[in-house]
C-alpha cells in the first residue's frame, strides 16, 4: 500500500532530516512510526503526503508515485497533521463539505460518515459554528472526521494522540482498528509508546533520520527482558 525506497530529505539549510529511509507497508496494517523529537517523523510524513518534495528516493501509494502522479496518489490517502492549523473562519460543516468536494464524496456517503464520526467525537452540534470558536481538541477531532470522510485507502496521522482526552483517544484507536479490519491501512507517528505497543501490527523506529528497526512489537522485544520503552530508549540513546 505504501512503499518508501531510499527516501532522503535535505532542507534548504543543508539539514539532512531523513536519510535513506526504506519502508514497506501492506494493506490492512496499522503501523506506528516512532522516534524521539526531531527524528524526522514529520518530515517523512510530509514527503509521503506531498507537502514537501523528496530530495531523493521514491514514494508510492497504492502503486502511484507521489512525485510523478501526485493527484492519483493523493486520491488514496488522507492526512491529519500534528497541529490542527486550518483556515478557521468557516464553519465546521463548511470544512467537511470542502473536503468532501475535493475527494468527490457522494452526498449520501457524506451524510452518513459525517454523522457517524462527528457524533462519536461529540462535535456534531458544533458543526454550525465557525472553527475559530473550537478548542484545540475539537479542531483535531474535526480534522480527523474530515480525513475519515472519503474512506481513504491509507489513513495518515502525525502524533494523533497529542491533545486528545483519554475518551477521544480511545474512540480514535477504535476507529483506526475498525478502518484496518475493513481493509484500510493506517500509518501514524507517535512518541507515546503504550499506544503503539497495543495498537500496531508493526512498529518502525526512526532515529536521526534513519530507520533503525521495523518489526512487530513482539519481535522487537523477543530477545530481551526489557520493556519496549527501555529498548526504545536504548536504541535512540545519544552517544
Amino acid at each position: 500500500m505504501l512503499i518508501l525506497k531510499n527516501v532522503s530529505k535535505i532542507y534548504g539549510n543543508n539539514k539532512k532530516a531523513v536519510d535513506q529511509l526504506t519502508l514497506q507497508i501492506e494493506k490492512g496494517e496499522i503501523i506506528g512510526f516512532i522516534g524521539p523529537n526531531g527524528a524526522g517523523k514529520t518530515t517523512t510524513i510530509r514527503m509521503i503526503t506531498g507537502i514537501i518534495a523528496l530530495t531523493e528516493g521514491i514514494i508510492e501509494i497504492n502503486g502511484k508515485n507521489i512525485t510523478k502522479e501526485p493527484v492519483e496518489a493523493k486520491k488514496n490517502f488522507t492526512f491529519v497533521p500534528d497541529h490542527p492549523t486550518i483556515f478557521d473562519a468557516i464553519k465546521g460543516i463548511d470544512y467537511l463539505n470542502f473536503i468532501g468536494d475535493m475527494h468527490e464524496v457522494t452526498i449520501q456517503h457524506r451524510k452518513d460518515r459525517i454523522e457517524k464520526y462527528t457524533k462519536a467525537f461529540q462535535i456534531y452540534d458544533s458543526l454550525t459554528q465557525t472553527i475559530n470558536s473550537y478548542s484545540h481538541g475539537m479542531k483535531q477531532k474535526l480534522l480527523i472526521s474530515g480525513a475519515l470522510l472519503p474512506d481513504p485507502n491509507l489513513f495518515i496521522l502525525d502524533e494523533p494522540m497529542v491533545g486528545l482526552d483519554p475518551h477521544s483517544a480511545k474512540i480514535l484507536k477504535d476507529i483506526m482498528r475498525e478502518h484496518c479490519e475493513k481493509g484500510g491501512t493506517v500509518f501514524f507517528s507517535s512518541h507515546v509508546l503504550e499506544v503503539v505497543e497495543n495498537l500496531c501490527d508493526r512498529v518502525a523506529i526512526i532515529h536521526r533520520g534513519k530507520l533503525i528497526a521495523c518489526d512487530t512489537p513482539k519481535n522487537i522485544k523477543k530477545n530481551s527482558s526489557a520493556t519496549l520503552e527501555e529498548i526504545f530508549l536504548e536504541m535512540t540513546k545519544d552517544e
Binding site: 534548504g12 506531498g50 492519483e72 468532501g100 452526498i107
Partner: protein, 532 residues
C-alpha cells in the same frame, strides 16, 4: 527599561525578518541588493521635492518646502498607520503570549508601536527627509539646519502615530464588540479614513477674507502662517529648522506631551480595548448542517476569497489599495480642487482613453494580490497541498481569485467613472481590452514572486500583505514595465490614442503568454517544494 528593550527588539526583528527571510547564502548579494530596492523610491521623491523647492524658492520662501512636505507627510502617516496599528495591536499572533508576561501595559503598548515607528520613519525619510536635505544643502550648506532637520525627522512619526493610536484604540473597543466584529472593523475604519481625508481637504479650503489674507501676507512669516494654519506644529518645525529655539521647544515639547499622554492612558487603553477585543472571538453560530457538493475550482476560489474577507487587515488592505486612488479623486472632486467642468470639457477628449484606461486598471497596477496569495494562507498552506488536485490547478485557482477580485474592482471603478467623465463606447471598449490584458499579465506573473518568497510564518497580518519585500518587488516590476512602456510610447508618439492602447494591449497578451510559461513551466516544481 530592560523589558521594554527586549520586547521592542523582538518586535523589530520580526518586522525586518519579512524582508530578509529566504535570502540564503546562495544569493546573498542579490539579497542585499534587493534589500536596498526601496531606496530607489528616493529618486521620484527627490524629483518631486525639488520641484516644490524651486517653486517656493521663486517666491522667496524656500523653507516652506519643509513646511509643506511635513504637513503632507503627517497626513500620509496618519492614514497609513491606522491599519498598521490595528494589525499589530488587534490581530497579532503574539499578543496572547505577551499578555501573560509580567510587564506593564505601557511597555507593551510602546514596544508594539516600535515597528509602526520604523515603518513611518521610512516613509518620513522619503518625504520630510528629502525636503530637509534639499533645504539644508542646496545653495549653501547649512549644517545647523540640516542637523536640526534630521532630529525633526526622527521625531516626526511620533505625532501622527500617537494621534492615530489615541483615536484608534478606543474606537476599536467600540466597534470591536458584538457580532460581525470583523465587518464592523473594516467598515468603521474605512469611514474613519474617509473622515480624516475629508477633514483634511476641508481644512485646506477654509476661505480667508481677502483683507485678512493680505494682513497675514504682509507679516514677515505671512505665507508660512497661511500654509501652516492647517497644522501649527508645521510652523514650529519650520522655525525650529531656521534656528528658533522657542519654536524648537514648542515642537519637541508637543511630542513629549503626547508621549506622556499615551503613557498615562496606556493602561486603560490596553486593558479596555485590547483585552476585551481579544476575549471575544468573532465566531458565527447558527445555520443548518447541510450536505451539498460543489465544483472543486469554485471551492478553491471561495477559500481564497474567504481568506481575504475573514481577515479585516487583508480586507482593508485590498480595498484600500484598489479604491484609494478613486477615493482621493472623488474627494478632491467634491471639495472642488478640480472643477467638474474641466473633466467634461472637450479639451480632454483625446485623452479620455488614457484617463479611463488608467482609472480602471488601477486595481491591477496598485494591487498585487497574487504576490501574497500563498503568504496570506500562512500556516494553513499545507491544506490544499494534500488534496487530490494538481499543483497546476492549485496555482491556477489562486490566479483566478486575483483576476476575479481585480476585474470586479475594475468594473466598479469603470461604472463610477462613466458618471464623472463622458466617455464614448469606443473608449470603453479599448480601455476594457487594455485593462483585461494587463490584469491577466500582472495577476499571473506576481505569483512567481510569492513562490520565490513564500513567507508562511508571519505574526501579524500587515507583515503578510504590506510590510514585506514581495509587495515592493511587485511594485518594482510595475515600475520597469511602466518605464519601458513610456519609452515605447515616446517612439510611437503621434499615433491615435486608441491605437496606442491596442498596441499596448497586444504587448500585454504576449507578456501574458510568457508569464504563463514562466509560472506553470518553471515555477510549478518550486511551488511543490514550498516547505511549511
Amino acid at each position: 527599561m530592560n523589558k521594554f528593550l527586549s520586547l521592542t527588539k523582538i518586535q523589530v526583528i520580526d518586522f525586518f525578518s519579512k524582508y530578509t527571510q529566504q535570502l540564503n547564502v546562495k544569493n546573498k548579494y542579490l539579497g542585499i541588493l534587493v534589500m536596498f530596492l526601496p531606496i530607489l523610491l528616493i529618486f521620484p521623491a527627490t524629483q518631486m521635492v525639488l520641484e516644490i523647492y524651486n517653486s517656493f524658492l521663486a517666491m522667496g520662501f524656500p523653507e516652506l518646502t519643509v513646511t509643506y512636505m511635513y504637513i503632507a507627510n503627517t497626513i500620509l502617516m496618519v492614514v497609513v498607520s491606522i491599519p498598521f496599528i490595528i494589525s499589530v495591536f488587534f490581530y497579532s499572533k503574539d499578543l496572547r503570549l505577551i499578555a501573560t508576561l509580567p510587564v506593564k501595559e505601557d511597555t507593551i503598548v510602546f514596544s508594539k508601536l516600535a515597528s509602526v515607528y520604523i515603518y513611518l520613519l521610512a516613509i518620513s525619510s522619503f518625504f520630510l527627509g528629502t525636503a530637509v536635505v534639499i533645504y539644508g544643502t542646496i545653495g549653501e550648506l547649512n549644517l545647523s539646519s540640516l542637523i536640526v532637520g534630521i532630529i525633526a525627522l526622527i521625531i516626526s512619526p511620533l505625532i501622527p502615530m500617537i494621534i492615530a493610536t489615541i483615536i484608534i484604540l478606543p474606537f476599536m473597543s467600540v466597534i470591536g464588540s458584538g457580532k460581525r466584529r470583523n465587518l464592523m472593523v473594516v467598515v468603521g475604519n474605512m469611514l474613519l479614513l474617509g473622515a480624516i481625508i475629508v477633514l483634511q481637504m476641508l481644512s485646506s479650503k477654509i476661505q480667508l477674507q481677502p483683507e485678512e489674507l493680505n494682513n497675514i501676507l504682509l507679516q514677515e512669516d505671512g505665507l508660512l502662517m497661511v500654509v501652516g494654519r492647517r497644522f501649527p506644529p508645521s510652523i514650529w518645525l519650520t522655525k525650529m529648522i531656521q534656528g528658533s529655539i522657542v519654536n524648537g521647544v514648542l515642537f519637541i515639547g508637543l511630542n513629549v506631551v503626547l508621549v506622556l499622554i499615551l503613557k498615562t492612558f496606556a493602561k486603560t487603553v490596553y486593558s479596555k480595548a485590547l483585552m476585551k477585543f481579544n476575549q471575544e472571538g468573532d465566531s458565527i453560530r447558527g445555520g443548518k448542517i447541510y450536505y451539498k457538493s460543489r465544483n472543486k475550482g469554485l471551492q478553491m476560489i471561495k477559500r481564497h476569497i474567504n481568506i481575504i474577507i475573514s481577515n479585516p487587515v487583508f480586507l482593508m488592505n485590498t480595498v484600500l489599495t484598489i479604491f484609494m486612488p478613486i477615493l482621493m479623486f472623488i474627494i478632491i472632486l467634491f471639495t472642488g480642487e478640480i472643477q467638474g467642468e474641466l473633466l467634461k470639457s472637450t479639451v480632454l477628449f483625446p485623452y479620455h482613453v488614457y484617463i479611463f484606461s488608467a482609472i480602471i486598471t488601477t486595481p491591477a497596477i496598485i494591487g498585487s494580490l497574487s504576490a501574497t496569495v500563498i503568504t496570506r494562507e500562512g500556516k494553513t498552506f499545507w491544506e490544499t497541498k494534500v488534496l487530490p488536485i494538481s499543483a497546476r490547478d492549485n496555482i491556477k485557482y489562486r490566479i483566478y481569485t486575483t483576476l476575479i477580485i481585480k476585474l470586479v474592482a475594475s468594473l466598479i471603478l469603470g461604472i463610477m467613472t462613466i458618471f464623472i467623465i463622458p466617455v464614448n463606447l469606443q473608449t470603453v471598449l479599448v480601455a476594457t481590452v487594455f485593462c483585461i490584458t494587463s490584469t491577466l499579465f500582472f495577476s499571473s506573473i506576481d505569483i512567481v514572486i510569492n513562490i520565490e518568497r513564500p513567507l508562511l510564518n508571519w505574526s501579524n497580518p500587515t507583515a503578510a500583505v504590506k510590510n514585506n519585500l514581495n509587495i515592493l518587488l511587485a511594485l518594482l516590476l510595475r515600475l520597469v514595465v511602466g518605464v519601458i512602456g513610456y519609452g515605447l510610447y515616446k517612439l510611437i508618439d503621434g499615433w491615435e490614442a486608441s491605437v496606442v492602447m491596442l498596441v499596448f494591449s497586444g504587448l500585454f497578451i504576449i507578456l501574458y503568454f510568457i508569464s504563463i510559461y514562466i509560472v506553470y513551466g518553471m515555477y510549478e516544481e518550486k511551488f511543490i517544494d514550498i516547505a511549511p
